[in-house]
Amino acid sequence: MKRTGAQIVCESLIKEGVDVVFGLVGGAILPLYQTLPEYPQLKHIMVRHEQCAAHAADGYARVTGKVGVCFATSGPGATNLVTGLATALMDSVAMVAITGQVPRAAIGKDAFQETDVTGVTLPVTKHNYLVMDPKDLAATIKEAFHLARTGRPGPVLVDIPKDVQQEEVDYRYPDSVDLPGYKPHLTGHPTQIKRAAKLIAEAERPIILAGHGVIISKAYAELKELAEKAQIPVITTLLGISGFPENHVLSVGMPGMHGMAYANIAIDRSDLLIAIGMRFDDRVVGRVSDFAPRAKIIHIDIDPAEIGKNVKTTVPLVGDAKRVLAALNRQVEHQERGEWIKQIDVLKREHPSHEIPISDKVLPQYVVNQIWEATGGNAIIVTGVGQHQMWAAQHYYYTKPASFVTSGGLGTMGFEVPAAMGAKVGKPRDEVWAICGDGGFQMTLQELATIVENKIDVKLAIFNNSFHGMVRQWQEIFYKKSYVATKLFNPDFVKLADAYGMTGLRVTNKEEVRPIIDQARAVKGPVLIDFVVESEENVYPMIPAGTSVNEMLEAPLPGLHLVDSKDSST
């Protein structure tokens, strides 16, 4: 079969099960775009900035478990993808990015819109390719998808010169890939599984630390079985949230810098940590030498390089979380741990990190709580980065797998709007809420046009505190309230929604919170809500960067709290 390079790309995407692509056109990728009408199975959603094509593909991938795909043109189009690729790499998200490149003969000549895209994206992709022969295209795309979705998933970029897209060659899609250097290890080593089971049997105060790997490998049932069988409390990392139902008696919340106090204290007291698909990020660990000082560590991860990278491991278990847990469960005995579970219950009572301060103000925590109540915990929540992100993690109770989408590793502000868009496209029947910072929202708000144009029914809740709130909080605590460059001048968000042709609502007092949420939910189609929230509210608890649970700041007592946060507010 003769096909042009562009046709090969489209047919290969279809073979890989792609149904939607997010992208933005340009000269070097025009042959591919002009071929799209021949393939109506490939729905193309035009974004207004390539960063958002990548974030949308990312949101799509995280909620569907499929590979997200984005297109961009050469030069500035491709460089605009960089933040999205870096975000996906840090959070192990399966993505394939296809970029146009200047024609082969022009490469290396500083041609118009030429950038060394494979060079630029090398450190922010799992792998990348520059395809110099159209005969290699099909095999390259096959490899790209294979690499993106297997092992530890990640973004893979394929850069295709314009004339490679145009040239006609014989096309046959390969059945297999030829990657001698890539063989992800999926099953745990039997000896190590035996050792792990023995440690679990001997432990008195074990804790499971579940990360994104649980969600990526869909190890929900296996995780639950392990927890219930051996009676082990489960803490989920920021990216592990929704991997274990938060209404389960064994759920102990989130660890780390803004984790629940009881979760961090439980880790501190634990004698065995079973880490599953998580990488001991510094926001979880704090000061390494003080982290879980009494605990042995079983570390299950598909990426061998994560084991021993940040903390010392007692039992390394390289493999896919689902398979390793299934094997481990077969060797784990039923156990009772009444004493330990009771200790944690006491901790939960003594350190009620979920308590929302009593106030007449529109507290952001309260808004999250009300969105949770209104949606019955059934929505997909997508966040930006900052205080609202932490409140969304703390005050919504996630019971549905893969229902919390956030940029954890890179902490990319502006992720919320495009990722929510991608999530809704991936799961059209699910209710999708974006919890947006007023700062982050303004980084990618041009996508309101994409949302309205494509009738993407997302509810955008802007937590409008007129600050880069999380940074302001650091300035308050560590720089004596010297608010340098954190105060935000904001537009009228409701008028903005109106300008884009979508419903805009505003909440300025507490009584309106729930009715407006309900009103937004009743609208079929996208809605923006401007929640004008308390501007100097802080996220607690907080373990300052590089310190330990012993230095944790907990919320000031209720009552005192109001005085404290009001005295310097507007």
Binding site: D178, G181, P304, A305
Partner: protein, 184 residues
Amino acid sequence: MSGNNVHSHTITALVQDRPGVLTRIASMFRRRGFNIASLAVGKSEQAQLSRMTFVVDSDSDDIVEQVTKQLHKIIEVVKVSDLSKEDIVARELALVKVRAQTASARSEIIQVVELFRAKIVDVAADSVAIEVTGDEDKIESILTLLRGFGIVEVMRTGRVAMVRGKKAPLKTGEAKSRASTRGG
């Protein structure tokens, strides 16, 4: 041995011969802050595969383990071996151009060359070029002696190494090359 003293570790890697693979490896070392003391690359006994020898100076086995794991994550890297604890043959080749303006200097240099079983590979009016092979200690020693004559230029290959004895090198299936598809 996570002691205070820095040891030199020898790591070898079998890598697919694709354009850009060296950039990928160098970028990983830089990004993760690993120091390469030396790096040697050449064709291996198998078509389309190259072998690299890295020397990494580190006081910590954990770092060396990370280096090997991070190397292995690079898609074109087929096999990585940490030879630190193996019985290995390690060699380096150096070319040294030394000033030799007088007959007596020349004959003294020839003596040194013989002592080290090195070779004179080029003779000019006022200098000679010497080729010497050996481990780093041997090369350092001859350089120390030659310094007295005035060294004009030194070119060293960096260490290449292999395990002694009959351990067969890893055989992989025919690694097909798509040389036209370049990794960054």
